[in-house]
Chain length 146, copies 6
């Protein structure tokens, strides 16, 4: 996995927002902005883009085209990723898929954001309420299997 | 005292830095940038400018001319300011003026930044070393008077 | 105009993002997050929502429903807003509407983000290129009239 | 309720941390630090302290004594606070008190941080697990009453 | 020395604070949070944990258990650390230990935070006053030896 | 190219500003401050300095002398930099040099900040206006050559 970084002090917030959108569309694994202070009292943004090695040309090109930076730093990153499995659970707000993540003896459940968002809008309840019901259903299912 | 505020997501860091310089030249008491997150994934800056009431037209005009904001918020602010007095102290790095601030029974000493900066450059010592010597000299002077 | 504020240290980033979306849908004039540090080493977010007085119940309810805050601060804000007019301009990337903002003798032009975004996607050019062409066309039009 | 604010560019992080601790001990309702950029490339902190009117002298004195600021801004703030009630719930990790917050038809439950923290440490489970069990127990209790 | 990093957008500030506490208890050399902006308007936190190689399993496990992240990045870091020595100095506020740090011809003194904090509380003086006295005593001691 | 990093929680904003100035004078390629949260509720700054390998002793010494850090992290960074050429363009505000940056088929123009700043001050126009005129002149020149 590669990380592309650039400190940018002469691109507007509007264009940075657009750049994030394009990078994600182009397959970036993760895009983040970090507020930083640069010389001459310039508030700036450190752009960090995570992508697969084979995709880095496309990502590099996008950064150099859509932002004002004239250079970027490239470094390899070793990543540890938990084993993920998607588990559909039934709730009073319909079916929600929950991401199960396992690593050694650690098990975690995280309801899928987009499913919960849709259910919250449709049923007029808070997003937190949908999350809670999805987590509850998932844990009952897991405890049932034990 | 007045505070002028604007959330700005379409002005570059370079231009924000220039705006701060112009505002301070125009007599702003204090200018600060706060990194904020705005809609559409836009990293933005909340500009805050403190100025005297009679100077607010000039400051307002500068904000509207040098940044892309099309509006700004204005609020009055009640300020408590300690009584200040400048005390020259002798140090091995030459004379440094120290700001004494008093309020009720609270007394504080803060060496003048520009004096210390010049002394540090001339004598090839760290800025912290000059600060320390100035503070020491000032406290000896004050304890001497007690 | 009213500003609603809350310091929030027990709501996730996912839910804050959803809250911003709902607030904007509900007519908030502006929503911003400011990263702050709170007690017990908690990284938190100061939520600021700007809205019309007659809309503040709806906005208040959303903040209390979708985030974990159990209170919020309300203050009136005096606003200065430049006179705005939308000017369509012809560019090689099609028609782009440009926002003209006037206040006293200050005149500024800002191309409409969504128009530029669509044109950039369709014509496969950078967003900056579309912005530049729109600004140029607009200034030629204004200088033509003078 | 009063809000005391000061932009501070010449106090160290260690002393700001100590100041927060002292302010909370002295009864401040809320203390937050906001990272800001100030003139001469100075990374600074905007200190915000919320306190009751009758306590503001003590808080003001602490700010002026423990930080380098020589002034501070004071403003009144109108606050809306939900009605709160503490509900003890039984979980497999012992008794946890849950804060119920009500305003009009909005009801929210938030497990008490310190109870959960203690339970997580004692039972060697994640804090999230204790939160989840406490929320579940609380909702069963509430749904039972309906 | 190893650095473990994760961008986290679905863990609350309360849980991040708890995670920092647990990581430091487990022997992390340094733990820091950096406020970042992630996709879908999510305010997030980049967690950075510095630890010895032989301790990284324990730290890794804690991050995956106490936060919602399902992965983390690991990189080796080359560190330069000054030679440190603890020097007790006598002050009117009791004995304070001062950390002396040396590297080549650079010498620096930094009073021990916890000693100064205790002395400030006991003697009812500002933390800055204790720091200043400790630094003064230390420099007199060093200049005495020269 | 080398990157030197240090997390600093016991140096004031004034001294960090001075350190940035000294580092840039000493030939650092880029210096940035990132606001971070550290233990014991300390607002801190991550200092990042980019420099050539042969210059790193001087930069290292400055960091250890002017800030309170007793250590720093050093890592190599692979950099991609676009080919740059300076193009003078004539505008109604005098001659402005524009930096042309090329990489593969990507071409970008960025007016030189200091030239624009001087022109804006002399001719009493906004910095944005000078930028716009310089960009326009540059593009006409480039389109003329095609
Ligand atoms: Ni449904
Ligand atoms: Ni479970
Ligand atoms: Ni001298
Ligand atoms: Ni004293
Ligand atoms: Ni078209
Ligand atoms: Ni014009
Ligand atoms: Ni128990
Ligand atoms: Ni419920
Ligand atoms: Ni004592
Ligand atoms: Ni010394
Ligand atoms: Ni001229
Ligand atoms: Ni062009």
């Amino acid at each position: 996995m590669l990380i592309l970084e650039a400190n940018i002090d002469d691109t507007t917030g509007e264009m940075m927002g657009y750049t994030m959108e394009k990078l994600l569309q182009a397959g970036a694994l993760d895009v983040s902005f970090t507020p930083i202070y640069m010389k001459k009292n310039r508030p700036a943004i450190k752009l960090e883009v995570m992508g697969e090695e084979e995709n880095h040309d496309r990502l590099q090109e996008l950064i150099l085209t859509e932002t004002s930076t004239i250079g970027l730093r490239i470094r390899k990153a070793r990543r540890l990723v938990m084993k993920r499995k998607s588990i559909p659970v039934e709730t009073e707000f319909g079916t929600i898929s929950v991401k199960e993540a396992r690593w050694k003896q650690i098990v975690k459940y995280a309801p899928e954001y987009e499913d919960c968002r849709k259910a919250a809008q449709e049923h007029g309840v808070s997003l937190a309420e949908v999350y809670r019901k999805a987590e509850e259903a998932c844990h009952q299912k897991e405890e049932g299997k034990k």
